[in-house]
């Protein structure tokens, strides 16, 4: 009887551990998938504007980020300029 009880408890504990392990693995997988959301990007050959006017751009303004961040409160508002021109260039220096 004691042996049966022990086996039963062992089976129960093992099952619980398996369930916990699988839950953890699933949670980590979901987080990892979410963190790799840049997969929503769209290929753009040489010119940002050309892809936008082609309707192919899927920027993440609506599908990849939260706008609830406090960082939006004082972020500057950018507007599009004439493509290919400018008063200065921002690139890797």
């Amino acid at each position: 009887m004691d042996r049966d009880t022990g086996l039963s408890r062992t089976t129960t504990i093992t099952g619980a551990l398996v369930v916990a392990s699988l839950s953890g693995t699933l949670a980590i997988g979901l987080v990892a998938r979410d963190a790799e959301s840049p997969g929503t990007t769209t290929s753009t050959p040489t010119d940002d504007a050309s892809s936008s006017t082609g309707g192919a751009t899927t920027g993440s303004d609506t599908d990849g980020e939260s706008e609830s961040s406090g960082s939006t409160s004082n972020s500057p508002t950018l507007s599009p300029g004439d493509d290919g021109s400018g008063q200065a260039t921002s690139g890797g220096s």
């Binding site: 050959p45 010119d47 504007a49 920027g59 950018l78």
Partner: protein, 304 residues
């Protein structure tokens, strides 16, 4: 290769080489251009004397040679160090000024123009950065732990752009854009429609033009600019402080707009270090990220 500035130089613009890249200023009142350029040159010269790690006579080099003893630094260096430590704090250590020894170990131990074409030795490449919190700055008393070599490159250029722009606008009363490589700061009134900035890393890369309101800033970090090393094992200047190695090339280029160039540069640099989780860091911030294969991700209402 540093930034290739290909835009024309008009009567409102001055441009020259500095720190292995291009300095460019644009003013809304061309009559004040010469005086503005002189002020910016003087400011950059002062910043160089304060914090260049390539000059043995700089204040920063002297502080790093002090063997862990506190030294009194100038208000300028205290300001630049404060900016670097603030960047480290707000980026949770992704932008860390203690990577100087790691950069040297990778071969970036002198002005970048002098290392182009050099190859680094693979055997001496693991230099995790010391903890930036070990650097103490109490007002103007700086203590650099023995053996730590500071590199303010990630933040000093951006802070210098901020300082120079404010200086010109305040003293001359003109609107001004100061661009130091990829780091752009503006101050004073903007031209009608805003400052027009071409965002493009290397020639042939995807590009766009955006308009910045007066007082706004924009910075770009790149894993292809300032790159060196052996074929098959390329290196670049943005290190992951936790490994002492160049950050993974998840992103080719990250551009960020913010109220200050220092903040924009901190975010763009940290985004490169964070790799796939960069979009979370940049949530709500106007940003444009280019993947290693040229795909573009726009965040925070960056214009299409």
């Amino acid at each position: 290769m540093p930034l290739a500035e290909t835009l024309p130089v008009g009567p409102d613009t001055a441009q020259w080489s500095v720190w292995g890249t291009v300095a460019r200023i644009v003013v809304t009142d061309p009559a004040l251009l010469a005086e503005a350029a002189m002020m910016v040159r003087a400011e950059l010269s002062a910043v160089d004397a304060a914090c260049s790690r390539f000059r043995p006579d700089s204040e920063l080099s002297a502080a790093c040679r002090a063997g862990g003893r506190p030294v009194t630094v100038s208000p300028l260096l205290a300001d630049l160090l404060g900016a670097a430590l603030e960047a480290a704090r707000t980026s949770d250590g992704d932008v860390d000024p203690t990577v100087g020894a790691a950069l040297c170990g990778l071969g970036y131990d002198r002005d970048f123009a002098a290392i182009t074409g050099r190859t680094a030795t693979s055997a001496v490449r693991v230099f995790p950065a010391p903890d930036w919190r070990a650097v103490r700055l109490d007002d103007r008393a700086l203590t650099v732990p023995h053996g730590v070599l500071l590199d303010l490159g990630a933040t000093a250029k951006a802070a210098a752009a901020d300082r120079a722009a404010v200086l010109v606008a305040d003293r001359l009363g003109t609107g001004v854009l100061v661009a130091l490589g990829g780091d752009i700061a503006t101050a004073g009134p903007a031209p009608a429609g805003g400052w027009r900035v071409l965002v493009q890393d290397r020639p042939g890369d995807p590009r766009c033009t955006v308009r910045l309101p007066g007082g706004a800033a924009l910075a770009t970090s790149s894993t292809v600019a300032r790159a060196w090393g052996a074929p098959g094992d390329p290196l670049h200047h943005i290190l992951d402080p936790r490994t002492g190695r160049p950050a993974s090339r998840v992103w080719r280029t990250v551009s960020v707009a913010a109220p200050s160039c220092l903040r924009a540069n901190t975010l763009s640099t940290a985004a490169v270090v964070r790799g796939h989780s960069a979009p979370r860091l940049l949530a709500g911030v106007p940003a444009r990220l280019v993947t290693a294969t040229g795909e573009i991700l726009r965040l925070g209402r960056w214009p299409a």
